[in-house]
Every structure is written in structure tokens, then in C-alpha cells.
């Protein structure tokens, strides 16, 4: 049932061209160059080191690796990470 609901949701979003992250509760990652990264719709920080940040989301764990990573801003729905961003791993 959940799988079907997910599929239907995707189809509806596509036909009506609604923003997917709102319809399907998935995180949205915005990378600006290699200096800033936005993660919207997250579920908390799992690990924070100077060279690695792991964020929990509805689809799994999102890993950001790099250097001098600083959490510029953190609010319940959004994290802004700045620093030298090397790798963003969203494979679940």
C-alpha cells in the first residue's frame, strides 16, 4: 500500500507539476558551487565532524564530506552547511 501510495503521489505530482518535495516529503538538496549546501526537509543530525556531516532524512542518511565544514544555520526544516564541500552522498 505504501509503495502504491508513493507511486500514485509521484504520478500526481508529475501531471500537475507540483513541487515534489512538498507532495512526497523528500529532502531537497541545493548546492551552491562547492562552498554552500542547503538541505531542506531533514530529520536531524546524526554525526557532525569537521570533515563529515551525516544528516537523517525521510529517504535515508545523507552524507556530506569535505573540509572545514561549518553549520551556518540550522532550523527545524533546513540546514545550511558552508565550507569546502567535497562529496555529497544521497544514495540510500
Amino acid at each position: 500500500m505504501v509503495k502504491n501510495a508513493g507511486r500514485v503521489g509521484q504520478r500526481v505530482a508529475e501531471i500537475l507539476e507540483l513541487p515534489k518535495e512538498i507532495v512526497m516529503d523528500v529532502p531537497k538538496v541545493t548546492i551552491t558551487g562547492n562552498i554552500q549546501l542547503n538541505i531542506e526537509n531533514h530529520r536531524g543530525i546524526m554525526q557532525y565532524e569537521i570533515d563529515k556531516i551525516r544528516v537523517s532524512t525521510s529517504i535515508g542518511v545523507l552524507t556530506v564530506t569535505g573540509n572545514n565544514l561549518v553549520i551556518k544555520n540550522i532550523v527545524p526544516e533546513e540546514i545550511v552547511v558552508t565550507g569546502e564541500i567535497g562529496n555529497v552522498d544521497i544514495s540510500v
Binding site: 536531524g44 544555520n73 532550523v75
Partner: protein
């Protein structure tokens, strides 16, 4: 919901360090409590540094216990902390506010009046008239309506042709232009002749109205009729017109000045006494006052304003009166010096009286020394318009034609 930095500063924020093992748990817990923090940096394996608002700081302290972390304050920034510092030094804050008020109030007044553009009018007269209208040191700027003052000044002083009053900082800047008396003109509807106002030789004569009775090259004397307003033609009655013409002629001016070779001159002996006083507004307070023992002296008054910039003046002046003792001595001028002095003053007198549109074409200076006196005779030739309107007296009353000149 990312608040701009300025708002953060105004509300005040703290920089704190959190030490512990479950730092990520601490962060998540704080977020769920709604704490707003930013610039999170990892400083060591067990320590992070972050900035948060004052409200956030209080909330954070509560989550510390449940996650087993320690907190230390590194820095305090922002307006609320500034205010608590000020509260400990109330007088400083109050003094600052009083200072601001004083500046504002003092700059709403006029403290000095400066008049420019004066050539022959007595400056004191202008100052007095301005003072009557309210423009004087100590006057409130908002009480003065510039347009009314300008109009009233023009009405009061007929010798002003233009006046502009404006306030620059605490100074009233008054610019004037004097009225140059126009040459006496005969009204346009009255018949008139053009006569010579000086002796001269005609070089060019062009008339737009009236009959020309002289020609190029004629010598004329002061008062000769150059263009007549009485028009007589065959088979027509006499007509009277308002003549108008441009009469350019070569004319000359003479002047003679005598200067004695020996002149009585005042010399300063070198002795000097200075008195200092302070001028506040219009009150003079003596600081150093000595009686002057010299029999004859030059008095030089030097006054400097304290704080006299283009934007801001205060009516405080330091007045230094210097008295230089003098004696009379007879100075003998050399022949050359005396000749030069006489020639110069003779020339100057002529140049000052010539109209601006006269063109100087020649200058002859003759000097003579006799009986201890130097006489300089200066002759200046110019080319200028020597025409002048002179009203026609009409004896009988024939047809009068009123021809306007334009």
C-alpha cells in the same frame, strides 16, 4: 527563516562552547525545542562552538542536562549587553544625549552674517537693515522667511538691484548686486535729438530713427546735435520723432595730479603693546588691558572666531588689539618714485570714470618737476559712444508722430 545579521546584533547574541560526547543529540534536541543558533563549528573531537540568541541560550541550558554536555560562554555581543554597560555609567549616556541636543539647538540659530558683492554701498547700512528684518547673530533660523526678507530689503534699500539670502550652517550668506544708475533716458514716446555728451571726432554713426546731420570724420563739441528729431521733407509737414542712434567717436580725457617730493610719513618705532579681550555675542570682556603710553599709535584690531567653519559658527571671538607706536618723519621721494606716483593716481582717476564699454586706444603721460612738486598730466584717448538723448522742445503743435523705438 534565516534572520539577517543586523537583526541578530540588535537583539544580542552569545558565542558559547559546548563540550560533551553526545553533541549531535544535543543539536537535534535543541532544534526540536525551537532554539535558533548558527555558525556551528567543531573545535575539537568533543567540543563545538556556536552562536545563539539570548533566548536560545536559556533554552539550550535546559537541554544540556538531558544530553550530558557542558557549556561555557566565550563572547557576548549585541545591543542588550551594550545597554547594561551604559546603565552602570548613566551620566555618560545622559551627557551624550545632552551633547546631541545642544548641537541641534545651537545650529538652529544664526551666529554670523556675511555680506558679499558690496562695491560702493556702506556695509554697515546693509547690516543694520538686515538686523531690522531679523537677520542678526542670535536669530532663530526658522523664524526667518527668506523670500520676505529679500523682498523687504529690496524695498528698503533702493540701491540694491538684487539680493540673495541663504543660510549655510549657522551663517547667513547675503549676496547683493548694486544698482548701476542707468543713463538718463528720454521716454520712448517723446521726440528727442541725439547730442554729443563729450567732444570728439566721429568715427561711425548709424541711426535707426531721426536724421543724421554729421558725418564720419567730423569733429564735434559737447552739446552739438548729431541726429535731429525734426524731420523735414518736401511736400510734407514737419514731423517729430524719437531719435535713436549709435554714435562712435574718438574722444579724450585729461587729468592732472600734483604730488610733493617730500612727504610726511608715519613710521612705526617698533614698540608694541597688545590687549586681549573676548567677544561673546556683543559683550566684550577684557582679559589683558593696559593703558597705552604712546603719544601717537596705530591700532590694529585682530579678531579670530573660535570655531568658524562653513557649517558651524559660534559667536565667540578672541579680539587682539595691537598698538604700534608711530612717529612722523619726512620722507623724500626720488624723482622717479614721485613721477610714478603722480602718473598712477592721475590715470586711475580717469579709468574709474570711464564707462566700461569705452575702448582705450592711447595713453600719453607727461611729468614735470618744479619747486619740489611733481605734476603728472595724463591724456587718455578712447573710442566710445558719445550719443546722448536730449528732449526736443516743440514750439508749435504740428502732428506728433509717436514712434516707439522697438
Amino acid at each position: 527563516m534565516i534572520i539577517p545579521k543586523a537583526a541578530k546584533y540588535i537583539r544580542g547574541y552569545l558565542t558559547i562552547r559546548v563540550k560533551g560526547l553526545n553533541l549531535e543529540k544535543f543539536l537535534n534536541a535543541s532544534i526540536s525545542h525551537g532554539v535558533n543558533f548558527w555558525d556551528v563549528k567543531k573545535v575539537s573531537m568533543t567540543e563545538i562552538q556556536l552562536k545563539t540568541s539570548i533566548k536560545g541560550y536559556r533554552l539550550l541550558k535546559r537541554t544540556l542536562k538531558s544530553t550530558g554536555c557542558q557549556l561555557s560562554i566565550i563572547d557576548k555581543n549585541g545591543f542588550p549587553f551594550f545597554m547594561s554597560k551604559i546603565k552602570k555609567r548613566k551620566m555618560l549616556g545622559i551627557g551624550f544625549i545632552v551633547f546631541l541636543f545642544m548641537i541641534i539647538i545651537l545650529s538652529s540659530f544664526i551666529w554670523s552674517v556675511r555680506i558679499t558683492g558690496v562695491k560702493t554701498i556702506n556695509t554697515k547700512e546693509i547690516e543694520q537693515n538686515l538686523a531690522e528684518l531679523g537677520v542678526k547673530p542670535g536669530a532663530l533660523k526658522i523664524d526667518l522667511a527668506v523670500a520676505d526678507i529679500e523682498n523687504n530689503m529690496l524695498i528698503k534699500m533702493g540701491r540694491l538691484s538684487w539680493i540673495k539670502v541663504r543660510f549655510v550652517g549657522t551663517r547667513a550668506e547675503v549676496e547683493i548686486k548694486e544698482r548701476v544708475a542707468p543713463p538718463e533716458m528720454v521716454a520712448d514716446d517723446k521726440p528727442c535729438n541725439i547730442v554729443a555728451k563729450r567732444d570728439g571726432i566721429i568715427t561711425k554713426i548709424v541711426s535707426s530713427s531721426g536724421d543724421v546731420v554729421v558725418s564720419q570724420g567730423d569733429p564735434v563739441k559737447k552739446g552739438d546735435i548729431l541726429v535731429t528729431g525734426i524731420i523735414e521733407r518736401e511736400n510734407m509737414e514737419k514731423r517729430y520723432v524719437h531719435s535713436s542712434a549709435e554714435v562712435i567717436a574718438r574722444t579724450w580725457y585729461k587729468n592732472s595730479v600734483t604730488v610733493p617730493l617730500q612727504q610726511a610719513k608715519k613710521f612705526r618705532t617698533g614698540n608694541k603693546i597688545a590687549n586681549i579681550s573676548l567677544l561673546i555675542g556683543s559683550k566684550k570682556i577684557q582679559i589683558k588691558n593696559n593703558t597705552i603710553p604712546y603719544k601717537s599709535y596705530d591700532k590694529i584690531e585682530k579678531s579670530t572666531k573660535i570655531i568658524d567653519t562653513d557649517f558651524f559658527q559660534l559667536p565667540f571671538e578672541i579680539v587682539i588689539d595691537e598698538y604700534y607706536e608711530t612717529t612722523g618723519k619726512y620722507v623724500k621721494l626720488t624723482d622717479e618714485e614721485a613721477k610714478a606716483l603722480a602718473a598712477e593716481s592721475a590715470e586711475k582717476a580717469i579709468i574709474d570714470s570711464i564707462l566700461p564699454d569705452a575702448r582705450v586706444i592711447n595713453k600719453v603721460v607727461k611729468t614735470e618737476i618744479k619747486d619740489g612738486l611733481v605734476t603728472a598730466d595724463v591724456l587718455i584717448e578712447t573710442i566710445e559712444d558719445i550719443g546722448m538723448s536730449e528732449e526736443l522742445t516743440v514750439y508749435d503743435t504740428p502732428k506728433q508722430e509717436n514712434i516707439p523705438t522697438h
